[in-house]
């Protein structure tokens, strides 16, 4: 082939870089999310006709909508009970999936979960402290958030040697800090009164049942901003995943950017845990699935994982509130539904995803 034509053909092939295709897939995933929200909004023990569900939603969203014109019970069920849960499921799904992807990238290991640095144990301790000592001046949610962040900060300080934080030290430090906080939680459980103990167990099981619009207003901005920061720097996450030394030589300061990513991911995880308790598996599975569909380029993988996480949590929470007459803790469902999926992932495409 003539050199010039060959060069042209190659440059066309190179220009596409699959980016348009990936953007299209992302768009499709977002469409799936919207459809899932629409379906989930119509599910529930209290039967409301489909059209009334969407009419209620519309009237509340439109600023000049006459909310007095629909039945009060529809408003309560759709707008006060179902919709906040669905929204929180979306954002917690985004937070946990993106945090999982970020940790996997920073730690160069696809088996890492957002809780690896001890944030869940720290948050559990914070919540338990507030429950067992009623005069504790922090609210339970705030206490869970602060101690979750403190745990990660502690792990980071513990792992720091001469201005660097080697990955293996970070993971070990996370395990140590996590088990220290777990032990403290056990002590609190032991000295707690029966009522307080019950409350701690409730909290650890996790769930979306208490979601109100106030929670949404608190949690969503945190998650949106953290995710935004992560996404803007997502190319640098690709570089970081090459290792600290190679990242440095490619112009990305490893300590600075690892710090930014870990802080953002930790904030997202801590606020999620403080709002809904400990929901496992999502942060591990969704980045895997996204990597399989989108490839490992974090610019596309992270939003894909986020959307998939949102869809997954909506499905799990909808099942949690409709499968039986009472509620089911959503953590049980994410594990039960998630485990076989992860087994399938490993068996069918494991060697590609695990690098």
């Amino acid at each position: 082939m003539q050199p010039r034509i060959r060069q042209l053909k190659n440059s066309i092939q190179f220009d596409s870089f699959n980016e348009k295709k990936k953007a299209a897939i992302l768009g499709f995933l977002i469409l799936c999310l919207i459809v899932t929200v629409g379906i989930a909004l119509a599910q529930g023990a209290y039967k409301i006709p489909l059209l009334d569900v969407y009419k209620t939603l519309l009237i509340h969203i439109i600023p000049w909508g006459e909310t007095g014109s629909i039945e009060k019970i529809y408003s309560t069920i759709v707008w006060e009970i179902r919709l906040p849960r669905i929204l929180l499921a979306i954002f917690v799904g985004i937070a946990l999936s993106a945090a999982g992807g970020v940790y996997q990238g920073c730690f160069r290991n696809p088996l890492v979960e957002p809780y690896i640095l001890g944030v869940s144990s720290g948050a559990a301790f914070g919540a338990s402290l507030a429950i067992v000592i009623p005069s504790f001046y922090l609210s339970m949610q705030l206490s869970a958030f602060i101690f979750g962040c403190l745990a990660v900060f502690g792990a980071y300080l513990l792992a720091r040697i001469k201005g660097e934080t080697p990955i293996i030290m970070l993971i070990l430090a996370g395990v140590i800090i996590g088990s220290i906080f777990s032990a403290l939680v056990s002590i609190l459980e032991y000295v707690a009164t029966d009522a307080a103990l019950r409350e701690i167990v409730f909290w650890l099981m996790g769930g979306f049942y208490y979601t109100t619009w106030a929670d949404i207003g608190l949690v969503v901005p945190f998650i949106l901003i953290s995710f935004g920061v992560i996404w803007i720097f997502s190319w640098k996450l690709n570089i970081l995943s090459m290792g600290d030394e190679e990242a440095r030589t490619l112009g990305v300061h490893p300590e600075l950017y690892k710090g930014i990513f870990i802080v953002a991911a930790t904030l997202m995880t801590a606020i999620s845990v403080s709002a809904v308790g400990i929901i496992a598996w999502v942060g591990l599975m969704m980045p895997h699935a996204a990597r399989m569909i989108m490839g490992p380029d974090h610019r596309f993988m992270l939003p894909a994982a986020a959307v998939m996480g949102a869809i997954y949590l909506i499905v799990c929470d909808t099942l949690a509130r409709t499968l039986t007459s009472a509620e089911i803790p959503v953590g049980i469902l994410t594990s039960v539904i998630g485990a076989p999926y992860l087994i399938y992932l490993i068996r069918s495409k494991g060697k590609f995803s695990f690098g």
Binding site: T76, I131, D194, E199, A326
Partner: protein
């Protein structure tokens, strides 16, 4: 032509808007005083409820259902607070010599009397919040919540999260909710407030006379026991150990659970029966080792339901209790089992049965004239308005037949 179409369209939209505005089902101002009355619940709230109630959700472990059965209105139940009233239990035991025996068909008396309870959906469960959509879908006339039952917390956060949430959501759903405080909601254990709970339930169903009879009957037993034991001096009081033979306690290396002085059962022992709790410490239910139990060496042992039913025979003959055989209470055969009462966090209507057993175990002479297995039949008859045959069945399903065999 075009103008007409537009006019018709506008009129159509206008009419729809007007019609939509008319579909307002708020009845706040149009309550007919002949159909509604107001009661005051234990949280001090004024609740407006219909005079004729046909659909009730009972958020408790059966206490409300039991009282409703006494009042004859149990068929109005459409939903329960947990699945605990669905269960029929069986336990198997082995002895040191390898023999096996079992107890079958254990259940809450109201489950036996009204089996339809097993079909009713549960709107809550331990570890999760109440499912309000299920509550709404059952279209109840009233929801009665008993704070302190096993699935609803009573501490500060429970109060704030569960109760406030229940109040807000049910009010938004236009469903009347009545809050009762079971004994765990009070900082010191006391049994008197159960009468208040019974009164309020009676008010809800316009059967205040009947509910008063029930409350007074239960109180009379308490008073009778108090009267008989009031003059016992310190030295004469026997030490009574409330010993829960929980398998979980054994797994963590203890011998069993011991109930401290801040529990309701200990309150029964010390304030009503006027005996002494062998374990003088606070902390709810604590795990103690065999050595610690031997050091306490109580005069009397009472076995509550604790992760299963535990007859005296288990303590006498189980292989894992052979280290305790030197206890005085075991050597003198002064071990008594309380009736089978799972999910007893907030005390049931049958709490006087527990009182009577503790009384007879502590002071057999003072209560010699009361033949328990006969007395308990009268109890069931009075509380549940049943005949003697049914009362005998109830005695069996609470696993109290051993009192017949031992003739106590």
């Amino acid at each position: 032509m075009k103008k007409t179409t537009i006019c018709m369209l506008m009129t159509g939209i206008l009419m729809t808007g007007v019609l939509m505005g008319c579909v307002d089902t708020n009845e706040n101002d149009t309550r007919d005083p002949n159909e509604y009355h107001t009661i005051i619940d234990m949280k001090g709230r004024e609740v407006v409820i219909p005079k004729n109630i046909s659909r009730v959700i009972d958020i408790s472990d059966g206490f409300i259902a039991s009282v409703m059965y006494h009042l004859g209105v149990q068929d109005k139940l459409v939903g329960l607070g947990s699945r605990n009233l669905h269960y029929i239990d069986r336990y198997d035991y082995t002895t040191l010599s390898g023999e096996n025996y079992s107890y079958e068909n254990g259940m809450n008396p109201v489950t036996y009397l009204y089996p339809q309870l097993k079909e009713l959906p549960a709107v809550g469960q331990y570890g999760v919040a109440i499912n309000y959509e299920t509550v709404a879908s059952l279209k109840p006339d009233i929801v009665i919540v008993r704070v302190g039952y096993c699935s609803l917390n009573t501490d500060e956060y429970g109060e704030e999260k569960d109760i406030t949430r229940a109040l807000d959501t049910l009010e938004a759903l236009d469903i009347p909710i009545v809050i009762l405080y079971g004994p765990p909601a009070f900082s010191n254990p006391t049994i008197e407030n159960i009468s208040t709970e019974i009164h309020i339930i009676g008010q809800i169903f316009n059967k205040e006379n009947q509910s008063r009879i029930l409350a007074e009957y239960l109180e009379s037993i308490v008073n009778m026991i108090k009267r008989r034991t009031i003059n016992i001096s310190q030295q004469e009081k026997p030490t009574v150990l409330l010993f829960g033979l929980s398998p979980n306690a054994r797994e963590t290396g203890g011998a069993g659970d011991v109930l401290c002085t801040d529990t309701m059962e200990s309150h029964f022992i010390e304030e009503i029966v006027n005996a002494k709790n062998a374990y003088q410490d606070t902390g709810g239910w604590k795990i103690l080792s065999a050595e610690q139990i031997l050091a306490l060496n109580p005069d009397v042992i009472v076995l509550p339901t604790d992760w299963g039913y535990h007859p005296p025979r288990e303590l006498y003959e189980a292989p894992y209790y052979k280290n305790l055989q030197e206890l005085d209470a075991i050597k003198n055969q002064r071990v008594w089992a309380l009736p089978y009462t799972p999910y007893n966090c907030a005390k049931r209507v049958e709490y006087p049965i527990e009182l009577m057993i503790i009384a007879k175990a502590s002071y057999p002479d003072l209560f010699e004239d009361i033949i328990f297995h006969d007395w308990v039949l009268r109890f069931y008859q009075k509380v549940y308005n049943v005949d003697e045959e049914t009362a005998k069945d109830l005695r069996s399903i609470q696993w109290l037949d051993w009192t017949v065999n031992h003739d106590v």
